[in-house]
Amino acid sequence: MSTVVGEVDQHDDHHHHAPSGITRWLFTTNHKDIGSLYLWFSFIMFLVGGSMAMVIRAELFQPGLQLVDPHFFNQMTTVHGLIMVFGAVMPAFTGLANWMIPMMIGAPDMALPRMNNWSFWILPFAFSILLASLFMEGGGPAFGWTFYAPLSTTYSSDSTALFVFSVHIMGISSIMGAINVIVTIMNMRAPGMSYMKMPLFVWTWFITAFLLIAVMPVLAGAVTMVLTDKYFGTSFFDAAGGGDPVLFQHIFWFFGHPEVYIMILPSFGIVSAIIPAFSRKKLFGYASMVYATAAIAGLSFLVWAHHMFTTGMPVFAELFFMYCTMLISVPTGVKVFNWVATMWRGSISFETPMLFALAFVILFTIGGFSGLMLAITPVDFQYHDTYFVVAHFHYVLVSGAIFSIMAAAYYWLPKWTGHMYDEKLAKTHFWASLISVNVLFFPMHFAGLAGMPRRIPDYSIAFADINQIVSIGGFAFGLSQLIFLWVVIKCVKGGEKAPTKPWEGAEGLEWTVPSPAPYHTFDTPPEVK
């Protein structure tokens, strides 16, 4: 992607005098540069968080303790989760938003370019602090990414202060990114582009941004209370001082559940762009897609306690949260049906973006089924905190969110770099990922049902075979992602020249500008009819 500028300089670019070298990236206010920074950063974090997953899977390859001690194992599960959620998935979506939203709505840049620069550049500091805490005496955070009190307060090591600080920075970055998205979409659409003409990726991000602004401050409140409980003698979560440890979970999941949708709504937008393009047919039910997204976002505020059925709630509350949670499957189902109806009687071809999008629809739906099962409170008592849950959220996050990010990367790489990626290599990446991701996560359902709790470094010998298969799938999935890195580097460096619109059925303003997209696009807004 760094070749963008060199390419662009050959185009006419009369008013662009960008600094070169590192200062170009440090001081940039260009949405495309910042988009690339976000995407590269998230990929690095994906590899860092992934290598922690490899440590986890290596330890779990056999029963018994072989490689790491339980305390370090807990640090690995904790930091793996934090990095994948806040460092890999969320920045990748923000990177895609930066690159694509201005081009999709015909705007010259994001509305608040300096803030854009800042919201990216604080992220490396946040994650350096988090990763550095692993090397402190007593180790890094070891209380799970959900940092339940009092494990994270009274019983945690002193790296907790660094954890709290880094989460604050991540939160500030997300909120600034979200404000930027909303302001851009509300003010900078090209003439004629009404809300109901916006591409679905723009719509889903618009709604996601509101979710971010609503819940990131709640997370900030939660970590601050953890900080004051641990260091300043407050008792928000300590019964001895009049507090309640379960209160922590209510606050955390009031953030946490909308957060889950923050990590999947933009995926819906991506898939809603790719499936029509490769089916050569308009998206089925555009309006219902928009309403379904809004409905999911609204419901996401009413379901948080389904993460807490075993904490001992009144029956009435359990019923309320069970019904609301089940209800979410209705708008989610509408989306899946719409994608299938889009493909129906289309003219389908199977380039890599489409393959990832199709895998997304199937595997995300499987994750949705296990989600529906988890919603049923009486059965959730059995599933809760087992590998069944681990399987469920990895299906929606890895073969859901991450597959959609891969699909997006392949779909727009020609636009970003001006080159076609190596289709053969990309298909190898796809098939390797598809097979290994299922070997990795599908057997986890069985382990969970048979009774294996999550977050344990060692297990009963009854689970030995399943864990061995899962670990092999894990190593294979990890290695497969290096193929992706290779494809991207190869594509940035060169390759077949990409036309303005490389995909026959693609629609949208981004395909009206040359490939690679010039450094500045839509200085004069296009007219949308």
């Binding site: 440890p245 493909m343 129906w344 010998i461």
Partner: protein
């Protein structure tokens, strides 16, 4: 002695309850667990049917409507009737699922009219059981040897799922569990009963079961509770009511005798070798999980005892922290977990092991005097 008895009994009870499926939820041994299992299977099958229809349509399109077959795309992109249909039909299916789920849930949460109540208390990393209507209480610790965990010995059949003293409950009687915690949140889980309840410090949760078949049932702590979360199993033995009553009466007698025995032993003092031998055993069972077998702890998490000023100089402070714990840390109060003899021995051990050679001994009478101060 009683521990050995229970371990021997444990080995003799038929293993019928253990032949559980390794790929699916156990059906379990209570009416509730069977209802839960049926609910699980029903919803699973509904999901399979929906999946078959949706993925079937998808694969049909992928096979039949390909560009490589020269298909020209249709132009339709909405159909209000179809869209209403696939909003309403899933909604009706959900109502069909919600009805049995609601009635099962209400039955699960009805803890009234229990015939026996057991207080279950989690702490890092063990369970404590107290029979509220009688004088019986004890801790239940992981019984798997460290050598098995460290791969020095072969792993046994119930690796990580065995304890020194299981909970014993009667069959055919409604047993109520009050669940709480002394430190962080734990979760008490027995899959065969479909009971999983969080143990929250400072609060008490309720759950219940009524077991149909005698047997041994195994579960684990389900909520991340720190370093040894993976090493605090739950084992429950269900006995016929008459057998259970006899067992409980015997336990009461044993508890009474142990108390008397302890008072008698106060007058006797042990020599250094005896103290060190018992102390090492107690240390490895109760202290080594945090302070480590070599007494060096884990820097920044669990303090070292080797060379610590308290273990070298401050004997009263040392007795105090072992007996009463240290609030706001993981250091538990062992005063109610260990006998006076064991407390004396372990304190002596900590003051003389790993080069801490103070040469001082602590006797049961010293600990008793401290407690009664």
């Amino acid at each position: 002695m009683s521990i050995k008895l229970i371990t021997a009994l444990t080995a003799m009870i038929p293993m019928a309850a253990q032949a559980r499926s390794q790929l699916n939820l156990p059906q379990g041994v209570t009416e509730i667990s069977n209802r839960v299992y049926d609910l699980h299977m029903t919803i699973f099958y509904i999901c399979c049917v929906i999946g078959l229809v949706v993925f079937g349509a998808m694969f049909w399109s992928m096979i039949r409507h390909r560009k490589s077959k020269g298909r020209k795309p249709a132009t339709f992109h909405e159909n209000v009737k179809v869209e209403i249909l696939w909003t309403v039909v899933p909604f009706l299916i959900l109502i069909g699922m919600a009805i049995p789920a609601t009635s099962t849930l209400i039955a699960m949460e009805d803890t009234s009219e229990a015939e026996l109540t057991v207080l279950v208390t989690g702490s890092q990393w063990k369970w404590h059981y107290r029979y509220l209507d009688s004088d019986v209480e004890y801790f239940s610790l992981l019984a798997t040897q460290r050598e098995q965990i460290e791969n020095k010995f072969d792993k046994g059949e119930n690796y990580l799922l065995e304890v020194d003293r299981p909970l014993v409950i009667p069959t055919d009687r409604k047993v109520r569990f009050l669940v709480t915690s002394d430190d962080v949140i734990h979760s008490w889980w027995v899959p065969d009963f479909a009971v999983k309840k969080d143990a929250n410090p400072g609060f008490i949760n309720e759950a219940w079961t009524k077991v149909d078949e005698p047997g041994i049932y195994r579960g684990q702590c389900a909520e991340l509770c720190g370093k040894d979360h993976g090493f605090m199993p739950v084992v429950v033995i269900a006995k016929e009511p008459a057998e259970f009553d006899a067992w409980l009466a015997e336990q009461e007698q044993i508890a009474q005798r142990e108390k008397e025995e302890e008072q008698r032993l106060l007058a006797m003092s042990m020599d250094m070798d005896e103290l060190m031998e018992l102390g090492e055993r107690v240390y490895l069972g109760s202290c080594a999980a945090c302070h480590q077998a070599n007494g060096e702890g884990i820097p920044g998490v669990f303090p070292a005892l080797k060379g610590s000023p308290m273990a070298l100089n401050d004997m009263q402070g040392h007795i105090n922290i072992v007996v009463n714990g240290k609030s706001g840390t993981s250091m538990q109060a062992f005063g109610n977990q260990l006998s006076l003899r064991e407390l004396a021995a372990v304190i002596t051990y900590e003051r003389n092991a790993w080069g801490n050679d103070t040469g001082e001994t602590v006797q049961a009478a010293d600990v008793n005097a401290f407690i009664n101060e």
